[in-house]
Subunit: 338 residues, 2 copies
């Protein structure tokens, strides 16, 4: 087999020769500028296509001032939360002409500054800033249009897109109450996490609107299956009455809860209904029974952040915090096997 | 609070004024060109630093022909395999001056072409191509330096970096044999997957070097916990003798296996040792007992692909397939609780 000849970069001169016109005409035809007969424009385009000529985006950027590149700056690219957000943003931006730089700062402020400087040098048009927790973060230190996703900016003049945890908790409580449950316990992550604290508060507040009180104080611990098992042991070993529902702060916790309940001979959901949070496939499907949970629609958070960033680049500012409505996904852990 | 004044882009002229030199001198000082006294160069740099001036990377690219940007083109960015590879590559490249475009083709050849064309226009210097399966893939259709990661290129003249599955299977078999196990069964994913087929073959071949035969034919199914449970049921329900070890094709399968064994009162590892593959934290840690498994070092695959891409961009070609050695991580499912 003869190896293919190395591909030389096709130039404007090659296209001019192929089309039988001047290089200036090629430039006008491909950039849609100047006065040209449509037939000439067409024949130049066909010649460019035949030769596989690509317009020089770098030179064009210098002329237009646009680079059609933005960045996703993440403190935690490995995380389950950042990835769907990043992909949602990438898909929304790539549908236009934007390409996305992936900048993984690993929560290191020095690395973040290094990236921001690099992005300014390259004239990136904007940045989507994500984090792995919902606590507000300091605004970036760079004169670059930015939209914050998941972790909002601490500056209310910035634009942020975040999951609507209050709506999620409301969906769960209303679902459990609609199924006739009245003794709802709560097992969740560390009290040092904003999302754990606020979900516990909102859960209690929503139960109150139904005339109910939480079944005991919220149990704060870790975002792990092991904590779900341990907290379940504590819950069912004490107290005069058992809960008839356990609302969990994450799917990992909920999986541990269902596992320990099964081992203790407690039927889910006949005796105790269980709910998770996140709609994380391997936890939800691996759990027996499969988990009713909240899908926070992370991809939509990324897509919306991308739209708002494009708006901002175009000069349309929308300061403030926008919340993305989550979805309740009902499965066997509350409905039983169907 | 007074809103901060909008930041105007600092220009070469501003720096020249600040340093009391001509714009041409600023350019020479910051680009390290021309003849200048060191003190002049230094004072220009300090003026640039005070004003927060950033060099214009786009203009410089046009002059140097370099853009210091590469891409990671993934068919499956959401996948557990692509993400660690992508981050390994990104971290290796960012340590230099390279920024990484994230291009998620979602296994769509048209989207892949769209991205490649876009990357050529922007004069990206190269691309790392990843996939979600280890089957060889067609080379990309673009005159762009490329290195393939995880899924190798079908063209042996290309450069590919892949996990060394044969070494991984060898580590597992030798570990089980060293622990005195002689009846090693194998439960794995779909026979249509190259990784499932080759691991089964290599496992049998490695057992043969120890004078052992596999305990029954390999059980092909799905990459899921449910399949691990179902296959375990089949294994322990039939045959005159039980296996004393079950080598699994993935951590998900192994978690299902340990779960069903526990439910059937079979002790792990006292009666049957179990191994996984992938070192996926939530499966390994969630399993009871925790799983002995193979870590394929996906981050290292990404880092090595990045190094080889930088070599290729610099004109140093290293065609062929490079395999990254995996690591055996021993835990309770073979060693018992320590």
């Amino acid at each position: 087999m003869t190896p293919p000849a190395p591909k030389r970069r096709v130039t404007v001169n090659d296209v001019a020769r192929e089309a039988g016109v001047s290089p200036a005409t090629v430039s006008k035809a491909l950039n849609d500028t100047g006065q040209l007969r449509p037939a000439t424009r067409q024949s130049v385009r066909e010649a460019a296509e035949r030769l596989g000529f690509v317009l020089d985006g770098v030179g064009r950027s210098l002329a237009s001032g646009r680079t059609y590149s933005v960045a996703v700056l993440t403190g935690d690219a490995i995380g389950r939360f950042s990835i769907p957000i990043m992909l949602g943003a990438e898909n929304a931006l790539a549908a236009g002409k934007m390409l996305v730089f992936l900048c993984d700062s690993r929560d290191d402020p020095l690395r973040e500054q290094h990236y921001l400087r690099n992005l300014l040098e390259r004239r990136a048009e904007g940045v989507i800033v994500t984090g792995r927790r919902t606590e507000p973060r300091a605004p970036i230190d760079a004169a670059l249009p930015a939209v914050y996703a998941f972790a909002p900016s601490a500056d209310p003049a910035d634009c942020s897109v975040i999951p609507d945890d209050e709506a999620g908790v409301t969906l769960v409580v209303d679902h459990l109450v609609a199924l006739g449950r009245t003794r709802v316990a709560h097992i969740t992550g560390p009290a040092s996490h904003l999302s754990a604290r606020t979900r516990a508060e909102w859960g209690a507040a929503r139960l109150a609107t139904h005339g109910l009180e939480p079944h005991g104080a919220a149990l704060f611990g870790e975002w792990s299956e092991a904590w779900g098992r341990a907290a379940t042991e504590a819950l069912i070993g004490h107290g005069p009455t058992l809960p008839d529902a356990i609302m969990c702060g994450s799917d990992q916790i909920a999986r541990g809860v269902t596992e320990r309940l099964r081992e203790r001979g407690v039927r889910v959901p006949a005796d105790i209904a269980v709910t998770g949070y996140d709609d994380w496939d391997v936890m939800v499907d691996g759990s027996r029974p499969t988990l009713t949970t909240i899908n926070p629609r992370l991809g939509q958070i990324g897509r919306r952040a991308a739209e708002l960033l494009l708006d901002k680049i175009a000069g349309r500012e929308r300061p403030g915090i926008e919340r993305i409505a989550p979805q309740l996904v009902s499965r066997a852990s509350t409905l039983g096997e169907l």
